[in-house]
Symmetry: C2
Subunit: 362 residues, 2 copies
């Protein structure tokens, strides 16, 4: 691989500059994405057409010197494969035609076969790997069981999570059966992505942060741990690192770090320096710039990048990223400012580090 | 005062049972509220008509044996008094006709005179005090400067806080001037509420949790501290306790507790037992039931109440509450289940505590 900084950093090995990628880096803020999206018609057609998914996966890499690609897809492919009928409504987000409305529906769910029922994702991964030709690693991903369950039971996005929480409190047995089926499905899905060529995988627990600490451990983290135990992380004489990201999970970083993952994703509400001292050196950290910083001026963006690099300090194991997905109205030039700042500032820092002992020994 | 459990608990004095009140306890989940609201026409008319505000403030106390009243009002009275033109749109939330769109608008803001420009709040407080006749204490409140600023700059509710964060990052001087004016306004406003009869006051920092740790300290907590310094907390030979609540502030509890407040409000994403051990015995804690628990069965509600009381433990200084405002579709019978559970379970616990040493000494 020509640029393996991401994998090195995820395994806490030294790098010459801090690797950076961006959650939702292939997306609406890019005019070239909007052009291809308009031609395709809708978001799901893009996801489900491997050639188009491959193309938009590669778009941000042509524009910015990013250190990773992430397969263009959606977190709700599994419930769609389970027959819930996913559509994405403009301005409203994902909607399921057949949401889970009773425990019978939970007991009727089957674990989808990844290659036959979400084969378009695997095919897109194979295409991207071929196109990348070892330039940077390709990240695969899935939604966490809890996050998938919230959409499946609520029928779409939610503010208060009334239905899933009522299920959780009143019928915990049924909630656990749903999460069990989902964790088996996610395990099979990510193993298929690894087999197809994903060189790192990430679990997006977008809604774990709406739970209480006890609820989080029992209904979200527990099932992510089962996935981590079930992943076949060894492929082609390499180990596939796993990143676990719970938005709003800043209170539970120690638990997340002990889950068996290789890296913990951080949103912007935690100080990355404090996160590192709380977690110690067990895992790498990914994050944690507030996505809103990208609305600010390039000068300000550079300051905020420097602040995060400073707080992380000199140790290995930092993957720079936003603390959540990039917003659709960001100016791509501001992304350039961020990526360049990460590389330039970290390279200077890391080179100073390497040369400092020599100077002292003179 | 007939029932002073709330004030005792806020000052960490022993009580016979844990006091409980509910954020937004006067609200849409009550049919008697919906009836008066329909007659009044809209939410702001209710807030701005002291007799109606008094009536809805008292409604939940007639139904449930709550240990406090909280004045029925809105957090956005101050920006409205500043001339921004508040309206509440059904299903959309608060909207300002004249939001802050440039720094000139910030520099033109004046600190409103609380009695002449938000006199309806003070008059409602005086009415409620007369009606309560010492039954339970009356809580006054305000939005925090940061929270008010988000609405004023965004023009209403927000998901991504684009405008206020761009202001904060790109023009920090202007953001600080806005927050300075707001902290002076909130100080005057809460002092007027105390003079009118509020026996405890609460700062609602609804959106402090969308900031980074550094941003929170500089743009939200700092200004709440200035308010705490400026409050005249001594009235009628009694001290008026102050509760500070930052939703999503679980990562910064130590800082909040050191701000000079008497009690820290907790949402449901922190464990109240861990919060207590992190904070120590400096302040009381208020919270922290997930509002969604009230969708569950009364049996489940009782279990969740017991769990929070267990985690808080035997020390003084707990005010039971939800971790955020009650949802509009909650069944009032479930509120009864919660309030009764808090009183019954805590009374048994606290009595066991008191009698235990006697049994040992026999």
């Amino acid at each position: 691989m020509k640029n393996d900084r991401l994998l090195k950093a995820l395994f806490r090995e030294p790098v010459d500059q801090t690797p950076v990628w961006i959650m939702r880096q292939a997306g609406r803020y890019l005019p070239e994405y909007r052009a291809i999206r308009q031609k395709a018609g809708d978001f799901l057609t893009l996801c489900q057409t491997p050639e188009l998914a491959c193309e938009v996966t590669l778009q941000p890499l042509r524009r910015f010197p990013l250190d990773a690609a992430i397969i263009f897809s959606d977190i709700l492919t599994i419930p769609d494969a389970m027959g819930l009928g996913l559509s994405i409504e403009e301005g409203k987000g994902p909607v399921f035609a057949k949401p889970i409305r009773d425990t019978a529906a939970i007991d009727n769910l089957a674990v989808p076969d990844p290659e036959s029922e979400t084969g378009y994702v695997m095919e897109a991964i194979r295409l991207v790997r071929r196109e990348l030709d070892g330039a940077v690693p390709l990240i695969g991903f899935s939604g966490s069981p809890w996050t998938l369950a919230t959409y499946m039971v609520e029928g779409g996005s939610s503010r208060e999570f009334t239905r899933i929480k009522t299920l959780m409190f009143d019928e915990p047995g049924a909630a656990h059966r749903l999460l069990d089926t989902l964790s088996k499905s996610v395990t099979a899905y990510l193993n298929a992505q690894i087999a197809a060529g994903a060189q790192a995988v990430m679990l997006f627990d977008t809604w774990g942060g709406v739970l209480s600490p006890r609820g989080y451990r029992a209904f979200s983290l527990h099932y992510m741990q089962r996935i981590l135990e079930g992943l076949d992380r060894n492929r082609d004489n390499a180990t596939v690192p796993v990143i676990l990201f719970t938005k709003g999970g800043g209170g539970w970083l120690e638990d997340i770090a002990a889950s068996g993952c290789d890296a913990v994703g951080l949103d912007w509400t935690v100080d990355i320096g404090e996160a590192r001292s709380r977690i110690g050196h067990r895992v790498a950290l990914q994050g944690n710039l507030d996505p809103s910083v990208l609305y600010a001026s390039p000068h300000c963006i550079r300051d905020e990048v420097a602040s995060i690099l400073d707080k992380y300090g000199d140790g290995p194991g930092h993957v720079f990223n936003l603390g959540h997905g990039i917003h659709p109205k960001i100016n791509p030039d501001h992304v350039t400012a961020m990526v360049d700042a990460v590389h330039e500032i970290s390279r200077t820092r890391l080179n100073t580090m390497t040369s400092a002992p020599k100077q002292r020994s003179r």
